[in-house]
C-alpha cells in the first residue's frame, strides 16, 4: 500500500491516466451489457493497432517539444502505396516499401526542421498538403482496392484470445520504442531537447540527431498504421485518415505529455490510446454517429489542455506571489535591522 502511494505521488500524470482509463471502461462495462466480453476486448485491441501507433508517434514528437501535423497524410500515402502494389509485389514487399518511404519522409522532415531551425508545425503543415498531393498522384485520384482478400483475413486472425498479427506487431513496437526511450542515450537526448532545448544544445547535444530519430519513428508509425488500415479494409483513399491526428493527440495528452515537452512516456501513450479506444468502442455500442465521437474527442482535448494550462498559470502565479512574499519578508527584516541600528544613536 505504501509502495502504491509513493508511486502515485511520483507519477501523478500516469496515475490520472490510469484512473481515467479505468473509469471510462467501468462506465461502459456497467451501462452496456456487451462491453465486458472477449469479443469487445478483441475489437478494442484491433483499434489499438492503428490508433496506438499514431498515439505513440505523437507522444514522441510532443516529448521532443514539437508536433507532427503531417501524420494523417503520411499514413494515407502509405495506405495507398501498400494497397495499390500488393497485387504486383505481394503484401509483404508492398508494406515494406510503403513503410520505408514513410520513414524516410519522416527522417527528411526531421533533418530539415533541425537544419532550418524552424518549428515542426510550420514545416509539417506544408508537408501535410504536399503528401496529400503525392498520395493523390500515387492513387491516380481514385480509391484503390485489393483484389485478393486473403490478406485482410490474415491480418485480423484471432490469436491468443484478444490479439491479431497486427496488434501483436504494434505491441512489439511499443515495447521496443519504450526500451529505446528509457535505456539508450538517444532516447534521453529526445527528452533533453524537449524539456530544456537551450540547455541541451548548450551542453553539446546536436539538435539534428534526436529530431531525425523522432520524426523517423513518427513516419514509421504513421506508415505502419496506414498500411495496416489499408490492408485490413482492403481499400485506401488519398484524402482519408484525417481523423488520426485529433485522436492521436487526445491519446498523447491523456497519456500525460506536456505541450512544453520533456514529459510523458510510452506507457502513458498506451494508456491514453486505450482510453480513447474504450470511449470510441463504447460510443459505437450506443449507436453514436461518427461525428459525435469527434465532438467528444474535441471536448476531451480542450478539457485536458485547460487543466494543463490552468495548473501552469496557477503554479506560475503561486511562484510569483511566493517571490513577492519573500522580498517583503526580507525587506521587513532589513528595515527592522535599520531601525534597531538607528534607535541607540537617535
Amino acid at each position: 500500500m505504501e509502495r502504491i502511494k509513493n508511486w502515485v505521488t511520483e507519477n501523478p500524470d500516469l496515475s490520472f491516466a490510469i484512473l481515467l482509463a479505468i473509469t471510462v471502461y467501468t462506465f461502459f462495462a456497467i451501462t452496456e451489457p456487451l462491453f465486458f466480453t472477449h469479443r469487445t476486448g478483441y475489437a478494442i485491441m484491433e483499434r489499438f493497432a492503428v490508433l496506438g501507433l499514431v498515439g505513440l508517434a505523437l507522444t514522441l514528437c510532443i516529448i521532443a517539444g514539437e508536433i507532427d501535423l503531417s501524420i494523417g497524410s503520411n499514413a494515407a500515402l502509405a495506405a495507398v502505396i501498400t494497397v495499390r502494389f500488393t497485387d504486383d509485389w505481394g503484401a509483404i514487399n508492398a508494406l515494406l516499401v510503403a513503410v520505408a518511404i514513410s520513414t524516410s519522409i519522416g527522417a527528411i522532415q526531421g533533418y530539415f526542421i533541425a537544419y532550418l531551425r524552424i518549428r515542426a508545425i510550420v514545416l509539417t503543415v506544408g508537408t501535410l498538403m504536399l503528401l496529400r498531393g503525392v498520395a493523390l498522384f500515387a492513387a491516380e485520384e481514385k480509391t484503390v482496392m485489393l483484389t485478393d482478400f486473403r490478406i485482410p483475413d490474415f491480418i485480423s486472425t484471432k490469436m491468443l484470445g484478444y490479439f491479431s498479427p497486427a496488434s501483436l506487431l504494434v505491441i512489439g513496437m511499443f515495447i521496443v520504442v519504450g526500451l529505446f526511450m528509457t535505456f539508450t542515450r538517444y532516447g534521453r537526448e529526445i527528452y533533453a531537447i524537449g524539456g530544456a532545448r537551450k540547455e541541451a544544445l548548450a551542453s553539446g547535444i546536436s539538435l539534428q540527431r534526436p529530431m531525425i530519430i523522432v520524426f523517423a519513428i513518427s513516419g514509421l508509425c504513421a506508415g505502419l498504421g496506414g498500411a495496416i488500415i489499408g490492408l485490413r479494409s482492403g481499400t485506401a483513399q488519398a484524402l482519408g485518415l484525417q481523423y488520426l491526428l485529433l485522436a492521436g493527440t487526445v491519446a498523447a495528452f491523456i497519456g500525460g505529455v506536456s505541450i512544453l515537452g520533456g514529459k510523458g512516456g510510452v506507457i502513458g501513450a498506451a494508456i491514453g490510446t486505450l482510453t480513447v479506444n474504450f470511449l470510441n468502442t463504447g460510443l459505437v455500442f450506443n449507436v453514436t454517429p461518427a461525428f459525435m465521437v469527434q465532438l467528444y474527442l474535441g471536448i476531451l482535448l480542450l478539457v485536458v489542455i485547460m487543466f494543463q494550462t490552468g495548473s501552469r498559470v496557477f503554479e506560475e502565479r503561486q511562484r510569483r506571489s511566493q517571490l513577492l512574499d519573500d522580498v517583503d519578508r526580507r525587506r521587513s527584516i532589513l528595515s527592522d535591522k535599520i531601525a534597531a541600528l538607528r534607535r541607540p544613536s537617535g
Binding site: 531551425r117 510550420v122 503543415v125 493523390l136 485529433l246 505541450i259 469527434q294
Partner: protein
C-alpha cells in the same frame, strides 16, 4: 531578416537593396519561380484575358478573405488556427438553418405587416452567424491567450465545432429556396460585371491593411507578435490580443461561409473539407496562402497585402494548371510544393540574420 521597413529611406537602388538583404540562393530560387510563372502565363492560352483575370480574383476571394482574417492571428505570434474550416462549417450550418426556417410562423413583423422580407431573414441569419462565430473565436482566443498551445487548442476546437455543426444539421444538406436575401452577396454584382464577392474581398483587404498600418490596434498586433516580452512589459498582454485576433479570423471565416452558402443556396458541414472541394482542405489552403504570401509564421512580420497577393498567386497557379488540363492531384501537389518552398526560403532568409529563438 533585416527589417526592410527601416531601410526604405537610404539611397540605395532597389536592386542594391535586394542584393544586400537577401542571400544569392534565395534570389535565384525566387527568380526561377517567377520565371516559370511568367512563362506559364504567356504560353497558356486564354490565361491573360480579362475574363480569366476576373475568374482568378473571384476564385481567390473566398479563401482570400479567410486568409486575411488568419493573418491577424499569425502576425500576433499565435501561429494559425487549425479550425478555420470547422468554424466556417458551423457558421454555414447556422446560417442555412436560419435562412430555411419558417419565420412567418412567429407572426407578422412590425412595419412589414404581411411577411418577413427576404432582407430581414438574411439580416437575422447573418447577425446570428456572426454572433456564433464571435463566440467560437473568443473561446479559442481565451484558451490560447491563457497560454494554451494554439495548434492543440484549435485542433480540439475543430473537433468540437465540426461535431456541433454535424449534430445540428443531422449531417444532412440544409437547403433553402431562391430567391433569398443572400443571393446578392453570393452571385450578384452591382459594379458592372464584377461579382460582389470580389468587391467584398477588395474592400476587406483594404480595410485590413489600413487597420494594420494606421491604427493603434494594428501596431499592437505587430508588437505582440514581434516581441511578446516587450509587449507584456508595455502592458500589451497576449490574452486580449489573442481573443481579438481569433474573433477577427472567425468572423472572416463566417463571412466566407455566408457568401458560399449564398452561392449554392444550401449548407453541409463537409462543404469546406477536402472530400468536397477539388483543391484540398480549406484550412490548409488558407494557411498555405498566409505562408506563400510571405508572412513570418512566428509573428511580427508580414501584412494582409501580402496575404491577398498570395491568395491571387495561388489562385492563378491553380487556374493555369486547370487550363493546361492537370488533375486535382497535381494541383494539390503544386500548392504543397509552394508552401514547402516558401517555408524553406523564409527559413533560410531568417537563419542568416535574426537570432534563433
Amino acid at each position: 531578416m533585416t527589417d526592410t521597413a527601416l531601410n526604405t529611406r537610404d539611397n540605395l537602388s532597389l536592386i542594391q537593396r535586394i542584393r544586400r538583404d537577401y542571400s544569392p540562393l534565395v534570389i535565384v530560387m525566387v527568380g526561377i519561380f517567377l520565371l516559370v510563372f511568367v512563362a506559364g502565363a504567356v504560353f497558356t492560352d486564354d490565361f491573360l484575358t480579362w475574363f480569366n483575370v476576373k475568374t482568378i480574383i473571384r476564385d481567390a476571394a473566398l479563401v482570400g478573405i479567410m486568409a486575411i482574417g488568419l493573418t491577424f492571428v499569425t502576425l500576433s505570434g499565435n501561429f494559425f488556427l487549425l479550425s478555420m474550416k470547422e468554424i466556417a462549417a458551423l457558421s454555414i450550418i447556422c446560417f442555412a438553418t436560419l435562412m430555411s426556417a419558417d419565420w412567418n410562423q412567429w407572426g407578422p413583423v412590425e412595419g412589414d405587416p404581411t411577411t418577413w422580407s427576404l432582407t430581414m431573414t438574411f439580416l437575422v441569419a447573418f447577425v446570428a452567424t456572426m454572433v456564433i462565430a464571435t463566440v467560437a473565436g473568443a473561446l479559442q482566443g481565451a484558451l490560447i491567450g491563457l497560454g494554451g498551445n494554439p495548434i492543440v487548442v484549435t485542433l480540439g476546437a475543430a473537433g468540437l465545432f465540426f461535431g456541433i455543426g454535424s449534430w445540428w444539421s443531422d449531417n444532412l444538406v440544409v437547403s433553402y429556396r431562391r430567391p433569398h436575401g443572400a443571393e446578392w452577396l453570393g452571385t450578384g454584382s452591382f459594379i458592372g460585371d464584377i461579382p460582389n464577392i470580389t468587391v467584398a474581398f477588395i474592400i476587406i483587404a483594404v480595410v485590413a491593411e489600413l487597420t494594420l498600418r494606421h491604427t493603434t490596434f494594428g501596431r499592437q498586433v505587430y508588437l505582440v507578435g514581434a516581441n511578446r516580452a516587450a509587449g507584456r512589459a508595455t502592458g500589451h498582454e497576449n490574452f486580449g490580443m489573442a481573443i481579438k485576433c481569433c474573433i477577427i479570423a472567425s468572423v472572416c471565416a463566417a463571412f466566407v461561409a455566408v457568401a458560399f452558402s449564398g452561392q449554392v443556396s444550401s449548407a453541409h458541414v463537409n462543404y469546406f473539407s477536402s472530400e468536397f472541394g477539388s483543391s484540398g482542405d480549406m484550412t490548409i489552403m488558407v494557411i498555405a496562402i498566409v505562408m506563400v504570401g510571405g508572412n513570418s509564421i512566428m509573428g511580427g512580420y508580414g501584412s494582409t497585402l501580402r496575404t491577398s497577393l498570395g491568395a491571387i498567386f495561388i489562385s492563378s497557379i491553380d487556374n493555369m494548371m486547370v487550363l493546361n488540363g492537370f488533375n486535382s492531384g497535381a494541383r494539390v501537389l503544386a500548392v504543397g510544393l509552394m508552401i514547402v518552398f516558401s517555408i524553406i526560403v523564409f527559413a533560410l532568409v531568417r537563419r542568416g540574420s535574426r537570432a534563433v529563438e
